[in-house]
Subunit: 277 residues, 2 copies
Amino acid sequence: MEFTFMKRTVFFISDGTGITAANLGHSLLTQFESVEFDEVTIPNVNNVAKAEQARARIQEAYAHDQAHPLVFTTLINSEISAIIAKSPGMVFDFFKTFIGPLEEALKVKSSHHVGLTHGLQNYHNYMVRINAVNYALANDDGINHKEFDRADFILVGVSRCGKTPTCLYLALHFGLFAANYPFTEEDIADMQIPKFLRPFQNKLYGLTINAERLASIRQERRPNSKYASLPQCRHEVHEVENLFKREHISYLDTTTLSIEEIAAELVERSGIKRRVY
Amino acid sequence: MEFTFMKRTVFFISDGTGITAANLGHSLLTQFESVEFDEVTIPNVNNVAKAEQARARIQEAYAHDQAHPLVFTTLINSEISAIIAKSPGMVFDFFKTFIGPLEEALKVKSSHHVGLTHGLQNYHNYMVRINAVNYALANDDGINHKEFDRADFILVGVSRCGKTPTCLYLALHFGLFAANYPFTEEDIADMQIPKFLRPFQNKLYGLTINAERLASIRQERRPNSKYASLPQCRHEVHEVENLFKREHISYLDTTTLSIEEIAAELVERSGIKRRVY
């Protein structure tokens, strides 16, 4: 064969969940669109035996790919990172690279404790997130509006524009209380803010979406229904966007946004600080 | 005043959501437990005007704290990062630090496209996550077990041991289909695997929790109920753990684990690959 294009194997190796390593690593790799990556996360590498196992997996990938695997690590323990460093992988060590300069900047030694990132830092943080998730579930999709006074955000918009996943993301990641209310056909027929939402107008954020996109999302849910038809979607989006403008409700178009982008933008606009990291 | 301990202000600055910068930055800062940090995320810094605004906020924090703020960035555009570099912040540039070495390792130039990390990379990925979230919601808490054949994971355990947030996390972050079933009092009285779960035994993962911890979580939900009482919690946990052992159901104790850790551990044990990044 003249030219063999092999996938490049990538390892995210951590003494914790591997989520931080995978996030930054993957995000760097998105800058190399022409390369295909096979991504493998190895969490809980917190002793010598597991480090040797990880090293063996890198070795295997190297033998198979005939190319040096990329290895992104968040490892606190230097004995463990030394074992990974002896592998045939090209190692990008996210902690070691920055801990030294940070120690200098802060004039404090780092604690070198494992598992602080996504560990259960304290019961309080855990309960904040759990309570926020429970709140989001109990106040999803207009099923309940008795607790809207406790909301940080009340998302409004047409059905299937991204409200539910955004509320869950705000709860899980930021510990924020997010309720949502989908405008019903009835609301849209006589488009105004439902009475029970009036007292909370300062917490309302609108989501909207391109009608074609909405139709295709609804199509997956209820194929060939009026609900999923393009004229219906166009009508709803048009009415709801007019309402947002008329009532000066801050809104954003989710058509080309990811859940993370919608959530980050809402937090930025509201000025509300996330409750947990 | 002899000694003034000021909080250190920290900025996470990005042309995207800022989530990657905040994740790695915060995770590095957890290694400095003796310092108190005031963390601020500035997303969408994608033009010169916004970069100058961000620079002004760093300047203000510097004037206020009388200490150099820490600045963690994920910025693709070098004109923008140059503006931030001129601020009085101590800048830790996550992209610039690694993109060069990665280009060398891959022998490919990076694309320098903004917003690829948490952007809506494609409709397919978005739909995988949304469908997984819908699945988790429709198959939460035993409300439905007609779709268990489509599950990647079916989490079982006592009520309030962490099943729901774990399922939502698996859906939102990994695009995995996770259902859950809480053992009811009736199940526990005659502890065995409910019949409708038998065909899916290879997908069952147990969660358990320390009885004292469980009682305090339940106490927040239904204060002073039998449900939240310590003897009841002890009984349920004991019976359910025995079932896990007897039936060889892989299980983990969530008492000291975060949602991320539970999710990462389940993925690791199952060998199932995440569907999205």
